[in-house]
């Protein structure tokens, strides 16, 4: 028995060593891009899954055109299950073992904040395609080289847009905030408070609820008693859907504004198509925003019928597109050179828009409040909101 086992072990060892020898030969012709994002655990996992579809589609397209620097792009995908330790481990593994040229990810802002120092020290550019915390790109802004970039919404910016809309729309100047007790919800509450203060407005109610709560009638009763006619929800789509359902129970419908989480299908699936139309939210793109988005959405849905959130797929696609353009411009896979190339990119055609100098030394956000628009569900589709209030918004209103 022991002999048999050791023979097996020996042959396994032989196979692995021969594979290990074969690997470097292959790697010569490849450029690896890492993908480190939650695809299975938290409420935003579906943004990570859709982001992966976009990431893979961009790699496919680039390889179909001959790759970058004559080499094939290869995606190395890791799931961080929304856990910071796992995310850190993935990051080390991608950089040290897989020797990736750049990383796309993560989905959870908390995970990004847990490992930002690793790519920064090891000089590997990261493009965040989902996580929205303001601090992600800001933390190393004062360093000679900041390796963290973003192609996503930024919380502060989208909340600035929501606050500006709320102030234009309110008749009584009574604005309320409702958010869940997760890090996301509480950070949004804090940002909103600061932004509203810039406008000289104090919210009439600030309410909280648990992340898994399904009935917020008690909190909304207080919001109603305070006389709010505009309510800003600082939560993701599923929680905002429950807020809407509670509003329906009370037959109380103030204007409800929410973050880009509402673009996810849970909002419409949980609240139902009619009720879902009652919130206006910030969005970077929609599946009908332009013809490139339409084409990518069609292609991805054909391959992944269950794809949840197109928006992060588009952002994942554009993240890879920008990285590939930077590698081509740098004519190198060296992290330092890619970082410089990213800061000096010219025109790059993406899905969300045609980027023109997307990044610079001072600006690591490819998308800003000017690229965001307000959207709304209508007959089961996300459409742009273009009412009188949106038209009346000026740059001066977007205090942040």
């Amino acid at each position: 028995m022991t002999i048999l086992l050791s023979r097996r072990a020996l042959s396994a060892l032989l196979v692995t060593t021969s594979l290990a020898f074969a690997a470097p030969a292959l790697a010569q012709n490849e450029i690896k891009i890492g993908y480190n994002a939650d695809q299975s655990a938290s409420g935003v996992a579906e943004l990570g899954i859709a982001g992966l579809y976009g990431f893979q589609a961009a790699i496919e397209d680039i390889n179909a055109k001959g790759g970058v620097l004559g080499r094939k792009l290869v995606g190395v995908v890791r799931d961080d299950v929304a856990s910071p330790p796992k995310s850190i481990q993935n990051m080390n593994e991608l950089i040290d073992n897989e020797k990736v040229a750049a990383v796309v990810g993560p989905t959870n802002s908390g995970n990004a904040l847990a490992w930002l120092h690793i790519p920064q020290q090891k000089k590997v550019p990261v493009v965040s395609h989902v996580a929205t915390a303001t601090d992600i790109t800001a933390r190393y802004m004062k360093e000679p080289q900041n390796y963290i970039f973003r192609v996503s919404m930024v919380d502060r910016e989208q909340l600035a847009l929501l606050a500006a809309y709320a102030i234009k729309a309110t008749k009584t100047k009574n604005i309320a905030i409702i958010a869940d007790t997760t890090g996301y919800g509480q950070a949004a509450t804090k940002d909103l408070l600061e932004i509203l203060t810039l406008h000289g407005i104090k919210p009439v109610a600030i309410e909280k609820f648990g992340p898994k709560d399904t009935d917020m009638t008690s909190q909304l009763a207080k919001v109603k008693a305070a006389g709010a006619d505009m309510v800003i929800s600082g939560s993701l789509g599923d929680a905002t859907a429950q807020v809407l359902k509670s509003m329906e129970k009370m037959d109380y419908y103030p204007g409800l504004l929410s973050t880009w989480g509402s673009i996810n299908t849970p909002l419409i699936n949980i609240a139902g198509p009619k009720l879902a139309e009652k919130t206006i939210f910030a969005a970077s793109t929609t599946e009908d925003a332009n013809e490139r988005a339409v084409a990518l959405h069609k292609r991805l849905i054909a391959k992944h019928p269950n794809m949840p959130a197109f928006v992060s797929a588009a952002q994942g696609y554009d993240a890879v597109t920008l990285i590939a353009a930077a590698i081509a411009q740098a004519n190198s896979t060296d992290g330092e050179k890619i970082q410089q190339a990213l800061e000096n990119l010219g025109k790059v055609q993406g899905i969300i828009k045609a980027y023109d100098k997307p990044f610079s030394k001072e600006q690591h956000e490819a998308l800003g409040v000017a690229d965001f628009h307000l959207a709304q569900w209508k007959d089961g589709r996300v459409v742009k909101v273009d009412n009188e209030i949106v038209k009346a918004l000026t740059a001066a209103d977007l205090k942040r």
């Binding site: 299975s40 899954i49 009638t217 008690s218 909190q219 849970p266 269950n306």
Partner: protein
């Protein structure tokens, strides 16, 4: 006034969910003095198996979303029965894997083994269904019923109705039937029960099957409110457990009472300060346990230590 009425309605609706799940703790505790700490994870296959059957019946893949037109009261009832059967069968597995090796041996090994079994179950479900939550329309429609200005959904009324029926059923079974007597005999003294001809293992397995089936039932019932997902049981199971402790683990009526109590406190405290809800509930639990260690309606147990 409307606000308080609404809080009461919402609290009762919430409490019914807690109570229903809490009943699952009662039946096994009454038999073996153990229960399934992973009960929350049993809601996962409970909701997902039934919903997947409905999806397959509608000619869709086993995940995705159900349209209201694909849900009738009959198909929902059949899917619920199937769910109850499947999760009940998982209960047998639970007994052999996580309870049998430890029951009667003293110590707390069964606590970890049932938690572990739940985690295995949840992650297996994650592999099959993925993380996205499945929206489930209520078979009774999605409109809101209004009573004096307070809104309540038909599904919530259904849950309360089912929970109370299950409670009454359990109460009768435990108190009036031969099976109930056997259950109590096993709980009181397994050796003596075996000597008088009770098949102890069979009774215990049945208790775990009933308990697991109840989780399956609860999973299907709450899915139209919470959505069906791998994470469905996380928060509610802890509250349900608290409800069982407050009301009395040994009494079905106590479990239900504890559930309603927790739900109403949660909703009423929310009217004052939402962040105080958990603090109030767990303070209350501590106070109840100090004054009545067996819970509000639990037997005053004398346990030899």
């Amino acid at each position: 006034m409307t606000a308080i009425l609404q809080a009461l309605a919402s609290g009762l609706a919430l409490g019914a969910i807690y109570g229903l799940i809490a009943l699952g703790f009662n039946i096994t505790y009454a038999t073996t003095k153990t229960f399934n700490f992973g009960q929350g994870a049993f809601l996962v296959p409970g909701s997902l198996v039934g919903v997947s059957l409905l999806l397959l019946a509608a000619g869709k893949p086993h995940w995705g979303n159900l349209a209201p037109s694909e849900m009738t009261l009959l198909s929902y009832a059949l899917a619920t029965l199937a769910s109850v059967a499947v999760v009940g069968a998982i209960g047998i597995l639970l007994y052999y894997c996580a309870i049998k090796p430890f029951v009667g041996a003293g110590g707390l090994n069964w606590v970890l083994s049932t938690i572990g079994f739940g985690i295995i179950l949840q992650n297996a479900a994650l592999a099959v269904w993925g993380p996205a939550s499945i929206a489930v329309p209520s078979p009774l429609g999605n409109e809101v019923w209004r009573i004096a200005g307070a809104g309540i959904r038909p599904q919530e009324v259904l849950i309360a109705g089912v929970a109370i029926s299950v409670m009454v059923g359990l109460d009768i079974v435990l108190r009036k039937t031969r099976f109930g007597k056997a259950l109590r005999a096993v709980a009181f003294n397994p050796q003596a029960a075996a000597i008088v001809g009770i098949n102890v293992e069979k009774i215990v397995i049945i208790a775990f099957v009933i308990s697991s089936s109840l989780a399956g039932l609860a999973g299907m019932l709450i899915a139209p409110i919470t959505t069906a997902s791998v994470f469905i049981g996380l928060g509610v199971a802890l509250k349900a457990f608290s409800a069982a402790i407050v009301g009395g683990l040994t009494s079905p009526r106590g479990c239900m009472l504890g559930g309603f109590l927790l739900g109403i406190i949660e909703a009423l405290v929310g009217l004052w300060r939402a962040e105080m809800r958990e603090i109030t509930i767990f303070l209350l639990i501590i106070i109840v346990l100090v004054l009545r260690p067996g819970g509000l309606m639990g037997a005053r147990s004398v346990e030899k230590i």
